[in-house]
Subunit: 376 residues, 2 copies
């Protein structure tokens, strides 16, 4: 029987070919291997879950963004996962509810949504990450940020920038020292997102009090000084946040560029006190993000957690990690024992199936002549 | 913000937890690493494609078995992949149409269908495989079968049984030396599936001529003798098949159990002259299968291909590959340099976040005391 020829692929869904597919798999492996050495153990949640539990757990996810199907068994709507972090939270709250804390889990796999976002047309992407469940302390944040950096560096990603944010800072200020009504709160957020000082001031004196946060943005140490001056004006209302950021920054190596954007909220819909975005030199857009959040346990209590997720597709698209293996052509009748030895030494062998094959066309640099390697 | 607690998972979809998730990932890695050393290069097709192209390419797949969604961009129906082999065929026929042949590709990833089959309730499973495109010769079959065996053995799977089949044998006989009408052909297939000699004879003399095939089943060498006797009766009509099977069997090591079931067709809906199933000692049901097939190229020509796919979930479910890493507890203030050295030596470290953590509860066998390891 014959397979019918293919049509085009749907927009936003694509094939990864050699060598990018291997580069993608290698990067994920190295990240997972590194986090494993820090005690993070692999979990594999399913590709699909009931839609209602997925959308309830992902406040930022609208049902119409999900790839959905009706489950003939339960007659309920299934949805493909648009994210794995929430699935890992579910695992921690259910099957691993009684596992000792802190619980360290890692994961990697494809996530998919029905509509692409404005910045990237891809609807399927690889997510790789690690979550620490049972704590969102400064010590936990130090561990997560440093494990993320170590994992990326082990995978060969250099020129990293980490951008810190304080996702619930505005809520915290609005509910305390700098009160805002609900409608003002959203307007202030919008202008802080736009870094539009004029528009913020135009919202009135309550909103204008948030102006120093626009300035507390940029290279970490200078931005922190401005954030500390703002904190002093507020009588130390965000002392704990300042101390937390300082502690997280302290062990980060000189080879990492640190920045601060305390009001950044894009991608931090469920994070609370701390968030961070990861960028790599030469690549547009973030390659990962992380932060602290809460998981609702079956007993109704919140459990603190912190983690990071990487989305390495933009790196791979840009050619990161393309490594050509050494390919060795084996003519018909080549010495099988010697070929096995050479594979063990790192060669990838390509065996002839007929007598007149051309190993050079098959991208082999050498061929096996008896026990000897000969260059093409 | 808080993540809402999870409901149950849909039937047939489940979480893999430690250590099974790691065992599954490790098995897939080792298979992919082994096939890579034989020149198979990784591809990553997308999770979803247009439904019509998927169902056209998978004759055995009914549309109602697929997880489907309407694509808002194209207004066409998308379907989640129930299989990756056909996707690899599509890649070979399109984006890699002009790549030199033979083209060797590998892949690994989840596949999903809406309804489980009778034997296993799982609707999502891991598929790992390799395809050789451009040849379905005996030499190509020898390579594929032996690469599959080597990959499984490298992953630690022992006690392998390979069951050979000839998927198009009945069609070939019915169109030639042992003619059958279309309705007879299906009845003969059914009785051969059931190995019901009495029912086969009852279908009449044309059908009864297929009786020797029921006997040509079982341990390879004895079954081949009976198949050869049958071939002699037919005047050598299946000489090429006999020679092919003999050649494929020849290099297979004594540690593999070989069997023959020349009329087995379950799971071989698109294979032609050669197919094989893989079983592992102690596990019910096949863990993989492979065989020869044809890909329809864009120019309307068939291109021969051969490959194998593994479905390792049953092995993992049965506890295969569970390896507990050595876990080392790092008390607060532990020597970071020494900890990094120990990670490089293979330890997985688990760092305390607070002073009173109990490393033994976190399944650590040892803790770091200065530069020394101490057992709990």
């Amino acid at each position: 029987m014959t397979m019918i020829p293919p049509g085009l692929l749907p927009e936003g869904l694509s094939d990864r070919l050699p060598p990018q597919a291997e580069a993608s798999a290698r990067l994920a492996r190295r990240v997972l291997d590194t986090v494993a050495t820090h005690g993070y153990e692999r979990v594999m949640p399913p590709l699909a879950e009931f839609e209602d539990t997925l959308t309830q757990r992902l406040k930022s996810m609208r049902a119409q963004d999900l790839v959905r199907a009706v489950d003939p068994v339960s007659q309920r709507s299934l949805a493909l996962r648009p994210d794995m972090t929430a699935q890992v939270g579910r695992i921690a709250a259910t099957r691993l509810a009684t596992a000792p804390r802190p619980l360290r889990l890692s994961y990697a796999g494809p996530v998919i949504r029905l509509k692409a976002n404005q910045l990237r047309p891809e609807r399927e992407k690889l997510q790789v990450g690690a979550e620490l469940i049972g704590s969102d302390s400064v010590a936990a944040a130090v561990e997560i940020v440093n494990v993320a950096i170590e994992a990326l560096q082990a995978a060969g990603v250099s020129g990293l920038t980490i951008d810190f944010t304080l996702p619930d800072l505005i809520d915290m200020l609005a509910a305390g020292p700098l009160p805002l009504a609900a409608d003002e709160l959203e307007a202030v957020r919008t202008e802080l997102d736009a870094k539009d000082a004029g528009a913020l001031v135009a919202l009135g004196p309550q909103a204008a009090a948030y102006l120093p946060l626009i300035e507390a943005t940029g290279p970490f140490h200078a931005a922190m000084e401005r954030l500390e001056a703002f904190n002093a004006q507020l009588g130390g209302a965000i002392n704990s946040r300042i101390a937390g950021l300082r502690a997280i920054a302290r062990p980060i190596g000189w080879d990492i560029t640190l920045t601060l954007d305390p009001t950044e909220r894009h991608g931090f819909e469920y994070q609370n006190w701390f968030g961070f975005s990861i960028f790599a030199e030469g690549f547009i857009g973030e390659i990962g993000r992380g932060g602290s959040y809460a998981i609702l346990r079956a007993d109704g209590q919140d459990e603190p957690a912190i983690g990071f997720s990487l989305y390495p597709d933009p790196l791979i698209d840009a050619g990161f990690g393309d490594e050509a293996p050494k390919r060795l052509f084996l003519p018909l009748g080549a010495d099988a024992i010697r070929a096995a030895e050479l594979r063990a030494e790192g060669w990838h062998t390509v065996a002839a199936l007929v007598g007149d094959e051309d190993g050079a066309t098959l991208r082999c640099s050498h061929w096996l002549d008896g026990a000897e390697l000969r260059a093409f």
